[in-house]
């Protein structure tokens, strides 16, 4: 019998690995106290590094800090260059506004990662504001209000629907691809409709129905493949009352 230096259980004399913890057993060295000690240190290090492994939130925080630093310092630099070079604020308002909107969105995603309805609605508000500002900077033709925001709203609503479907899916696989395709189809219809309203002032679907039909057909095929594979649940068991 030999003893595993890591977990202390007794193993077969000719075992090469511990059947409990997977530790390699080097018989010729097993009497060597120094070697056992070094294995222990390695094991402890492994445990410690596992313990110290960052949580998802910590990782998001680091990403938030770095992106915040880059965006803020970048905005400041462009702003100063513009101010010194032109002695007024001209082109720098574009990158500064976009950076700020981006930073707000990253912040929302960092802290309210799980509350998707909250961060999506606030993110929609800031992005709308960005579009209106860009419209104003460009001379205020009104495209922001009549084209930009409706398109943005359509994008956010379909995205929200997609997130909901993905979160609710118990088995993730081809069904996610199918949901994404349907989202693309729906978004195309909305885009087509909104553009036609803005350009010709009436609702007219031009190209989007073809996209929708194509995506729905492919998505249907994918969903069939996904759920056909799933084990058919015994109804009596499932509905026992």
């Amino acid at each position: 019998m030999t003893t595993c230096p890591n977990c202390g259980v007794e193993l077969n004399e000719n075992a090469n690995f511990c059947s409990l913890c997977g530790e390699p057993l080097l018989h010729h060295q097993s009497g060597n106290a120094e070697w056992i000690q070094s294995r222990k240190v390695v094991q402890e290090k492994k445990l410690r590094s596992e313990y110290q492994r960052l949580t998802r939130f910590q990782k998001r925080m680091i990403f938030w800090e770095i992106s915040g630093l880059i965006l803020l310092s970048g905005s400041l630099i462009t702003f100063l260059i513009d101010l010194i070079g032109n002695e007024s604020i001209t082109w720098s308002k574009y990158p500064v506004t976009v950076s700020l909107a981006l930073l707000i969105n990253i912040t929302l995603l960092t802290f309210w990662h799980k509350k998707s309805s909250r961060w999506l609605s606030l993110s929609f508000l800031t992005s709308s504001l960005l579009i209106i500002l860009l419209d104003i900077y460009g001379g205020g033709t009104g495209w922001g209000m009549h084209l930009g925001i409706p398109l943005l709203l359509a994008a956010y609503i379909t995205l929200f629907g997609l997130i909901l479907m993905v979160r609710r899916a118990r088995q993730k696989g081809l069904n996610i691809v199918a949901y994404s395709l349907i989202t693309v189809g729906l978004l195309s219809v909305c885009t087509d409709g909104i553009i036609s309203l803005y350009v010709v002032h009436r609702l007219h679907f031009n190209w989007s129905p073809i996209v929708l039909i194509a995506t729905v057909m492919i998505a249907g095929l994918l969903l069939y493949m996904h759920y056909r594979m799933k084990k058919v649940t015994d109804l009596k068991r499932f509905f026992h009352i």
Binding site: M1, G8, V9, L20, C21, L47, R237, H240, I241
Partner: protein, 436 residues
Amino acid sequence: MKKDSGNTTPESKPFWFSLDNAAKIFPAIITKEVTSVFRLSVVLKQPVKMDVLHKAVLQTEERFPYYLVQLKQGFFWYYLEQLPRHIPITADERPYCRQFRKGELLLRILVRKNCVSLEGSHVLTDGSGAFAFLRTILLFYLQALGLSFPEGELPHTLGEVVSAEEYEDAYKRYFKDDIPPMVKRSKAFHLPFPLNSKPRFRQSTVILSMSQMKQAAKEKGVSITIYLVAVYLHTLQEIHNNLGGLSRLKKCRRLRVQVPINLRKIFPSKTMRNFSLFVMPEIDLRLGQYSFDEIIKTVYHQMQLESDEKLINKNIARNVSGEKNRVVRGIPLFLKSLILRMKYYSLGTSQYSGVITNLGKVDLPDETLEFADHLVVIPPPPNKMLKLNCGVIGFGDKLVLSFGNITRSNEFEERFLLFLTTQHISVEPETKTDQP
């Protein structure tokens, strides 16, 4: 087995069972912290021999086919479905009483040096059922090492068809119709300590001398369980008395301890699934302070009264009638889980201040004394309201107390053990080397 339960037998594969009456609440309240997973450990005198253990576990699994199941979600209820896998045997390196994930068996075996632990979910069975399983593993293990036991000690001989009584819902068998329901109790005192940061659960184990404990209980003319419940209530009283003025006013002044009772000792059931109920002895501090002897006296009488078969029947009737009610049965699972969770906290935990589970002196042949040192039982991690619980198990001359705690304070354990030492019971912490 009654036909209406809709269960199949382990011989007809794949088999499935509906949850027993006590288990029905657990899937609704399980979280990462409140896992409803308990642990039973046996600490041997020699390092565990892995090859022998592997074989012993395989042999035992064969004898308990109804334990190889996973928890599944139906439309109206959860149910247990066969999962043709072997019970995992892993190194005991991770936190105790971890939650069982979806698609896992509801039992696991953990090994470290000379200690074999069995962790099981309350969805599947209770302490007594799990102990029967661990006992069989231990006896097969020792048998393979050359130990022979008297006839009938290995309770389950291989090859025979498993009796349907072993995997039935025994609550239903002993349920009597037309018994009036129980009255709701008032709220009880809860420990005021601040919670640990996550993961919250930590556990400490002490070993007492069984003979000293027996002597102390005998002097008072009560059983060890009643004695320990009285110490628990006495400690709670001390903690209540030491509260600051305002918090003492705010806190409830009823101290109540939940004591699980193994119903197999009252009813002749062979079931290996949950079959226990609770009694809740209490002291009411609004009536004044209690001396230890007064607590012993009141606990003794309350336990006698509440363990009465007719009153137990009333309790079973309350629990089972809810499940039998057609309206309740027809509620979809997600709504039912919501209601169960609310009821668990409002009707369950708020009514008692602590839990003490005593598995008693375990039934193991004398031959095992030479190989096993002691046993440990760790009750499921307490919830945020309860904060602390205690498990007791005896083997040979060692009575092992295990405190599960999710707070930053050790005050309860310290006071509890200090009191025992004043009663001439020596207390020794479990040494690191043989800790499970």
